[in-house]
């Protein structure tokens, strides 16, 4: 066993820890691990190029940018904020918890492309969350606004990750099934997916509690000190 390629992993950790540019870190780590495995430079370039071209799907986010850009230019974010500010019952925690529940339920039905950081969080959920938070704490400072936007993005991630695993045709379930089949254990997708339900409920409860605590913190900070 050749352990030297693990130096590539060490390069990633060191590079991120030193806050170097992630693009540089990743490419450098690839070369470290390639040289440690004894590959010639020409092979490494071909390997890097081929892996890069073969994984184009994550960049399809750019297809949503013309729509998002046009609507933002026409005031979508301003409108979303004004609308939420006018709904008297809408609080930050209600908004984010409803969004998380919707994301989990739709994810469990296989509808994961509804929502996402570019499609819904930046143009809609983040500005709505800020507007809703202003009702609890009218004088939000810049740091609080950043933490609210980060929480909106985190809520999208939690809702997505812990909903989609219940969907039996989802890649993770099929990956688990394929792995076991290759090792001589035969399972139905449904018998795997069903065990994702307790975690889905736990994720909802834990993150919802955190959102409520966050809002309580905003309220406490906003009250004048006695």
């Amino acid at each position: 066993m050749n352990y030297w390629p693990l130096l590539g992993v060490a390069a990633v950790v060191a590079g991120f820890a030193a806050r170097l540019n992630p693009m540089l870190v990743v490419v450098a780590a690839g070369f470290v691990s390639g040289f440690a495995a004894g590959l010639p430079l020409a092979d490494q370039l071909a390997l890097l190029g081929k892996s890069f071209v073969a994984t184009r799907a994550p960049l399809l986010i750019v297809l949503t940018l013309p729509v998002v850009g046009l609507l933002e230019h026409a005031g979508l974010r301003e409108h979303a904020q004004r609308w939420i500010a006018g709904l008297y019952y809408m609080s930050l925690s209600l908004l984010l918890i409803c969004y998380m529940a919707l994301r989990q339920i739709l994810g469990a039905l296989g509808l994961t492309s509804i929502g996402g950081h570019a499609q819904t969080v930046r143009p809609l959920i983040a500005p709505m969350a800020e507007a809703a938070a202003r009702k609890t704490a009218p004088g939000l400072d810049e740091l609080q606004r950043e933490r609210i936007r980060a929480l909106a993005a985190a809520t999208d991630n939690v809702g997505l990750f812990f909903g989609e695993d219940i969907f039996i045709a989802f890649g993770a379930v099929l990956l688990i099934q394929t792995f076991y089949t290759a090792n001589g254990i035969h399972l139905e997708p449904l018998s795997i997916a069903i065990w994702a339900i307790p975690t889905a409920i736990a994720a909802f409860v834990i993150h919802a509690l955190r959102i409520v605590v966050f809002q309580y913190g905003l309220k406490r900070d906003a009250e004048p000190r006695a």
Binding site: M1, N2, Y3, L6, V9, V12, P22, M23, L24, V27, G30, S33, A36, A46, L48, K50, S51, F52, V53, A54, T55, R56, L59, L60, I61, V62, L63, L65, P66, V67, G69, L70, H73, A74, G75, R77, E78, R82, S113, I114, H117, V121, P123, E146, R147, R149, A150, A153, A154, F161, F162, D165, N183, L187, I194, W195, A202, I206, H207, R210
Partner: protein, 323 residues
């Protein structure tokens, strides 16, 4: 039929437009960066086909282009477009005029994508089908975006060139972060080809105390988290860690239920995804999209959820797998 290659060309068009606008604005480094990625996108299928046919020059050139992009990103020559707050008044006025009509195109992307995805098996006529079999999501998303652009142009009374100008503005704001997820996925491929996965699973196998159920369960859960944090992807970690700990120790030696081990092991890995900058499209890209000054702001926002949930998952696994 809407082949995948049309979708890549559409993405190349959006990226190429950014290169043209940057060229006009004399932001040379940005223009070069977007031109490189646009070419890789447009020529991607041809590059892969040439590689399969045994001609390695195109893939090597693509690799060199990736290195050049990384150098451009690391050099600091890429300029983040300044966020124009100058037209804030115009935006507020437009928001008041258009009102809820603005929500329509925004909701159209998910709606059209989902409807087309669900209808895909029925959109066939003889041998002709609208989407390639078994891969309807990506073309459906592309069509959904096209429909939404058309509707947005109608609602905002803009010319088509304006849509590309806006996407270019957003791309310059996002900068290299938008390419990072692709590069990380490529790193996963490089790690696999150079034997990093095998080395990790061999290492783990040497260090686990094997006769305690609890120790094996905890080692499996922590292994999934740590390896997901390193690879940025629970899918990459699952075969390695389950093959190294889950299958031989938990399932074969201690008789754990494989369905429980698989499902909860994967979900414990997801907790690792919430913690790592390597999962750039979930953790780093949104920080840029939401204009956070702290690049790890999203990770900080979800870290506590991830840790509590990982502990819950490992506990659940211990009690459910050995019922």
């Amino acid at each position: 039929m809407i082949a995948l290659s049309y979708v890549w060309w559409l993405a190349a068009l959006v990226l190429g437009a950014a290169a043209v606008f940057d060229l006009r604005a004399r932001r040379w480094a940005n223009a070069l960066f977007w031109a490189l990625i646009a070419i890789v996108f447009a020529a991607g299928d041809a590059i892969l086909a040439a590689d399969k046919a045994g001609n390695r020059l195109p893939t090597q050139l693509a690799g060199a282009a990736v290195v050049l992009m990384a150098l451009l990103a690391g050099s600091g020559l890429l300029k983040r477009a300044t966020v124009g707050d100058g037209d804030a008044e115009a935006r507020t006025a437009s928001a008041q005029r258009l009102g809820h009509k603005l929500f329509g195109p925004a909701l159209m992307i998910p709606l059209v994508t989902t409807v087309l995805f669900l209808l895909a098996p029925y959109l066939v006529a003889g041998d002709w089908r609208l989407f390639p079999a078994g891969n309807a999501t990506v073309p459906a998303l592309a069509l959904g975006c096209c429909a939404a652009v058309a509707f947005a142009l109608y609602v905002t009374r803009s010319r088509p060139a304006q849509a590309l100008r806006e996407s270019s503005r957003l791309l310059d704001q996002l900068g290299w972060a938008v390419v990072l997820p692709m590069l990380l996925a490529a790193l996963g491929g490089v790690f696999e080809a150079t034997g990093v996965g095998n080395a990790v699973s061999a290492l783990i196998g040497q260090f686990v105390a094997t006769d305690s159920r609890l120790a094996c369960t905890v080692a499996y859960g922590l292994g999934m988290i740590v390896f997901t944090v390193i690879m940025g992807n629970a899918f990459a970690a699952f075969p390695v860690i389950t093959g190294g700990i889950g299958l031989p120790l938990l399932i074969r030696q201690h008789g754990a239920d494989p369905a429980v081990v698989g499902a909860l092991g994967m979900l414990t890995g997801y907790c690792g995804t919430l913690l790592t900058p390597m999962a750039a499209n979930f953790n780093i890209v949104p920080a840029v999209l939401l204009e956070l000054r702290d690049p790890y702001g999203v990770i900080r926002g979800q870290a506590l959820t991830a840790v509590l949930l990982a502990a819950t998952n490992i506990t659940l696994m211990y009690f459910l797998a050995f019922r």
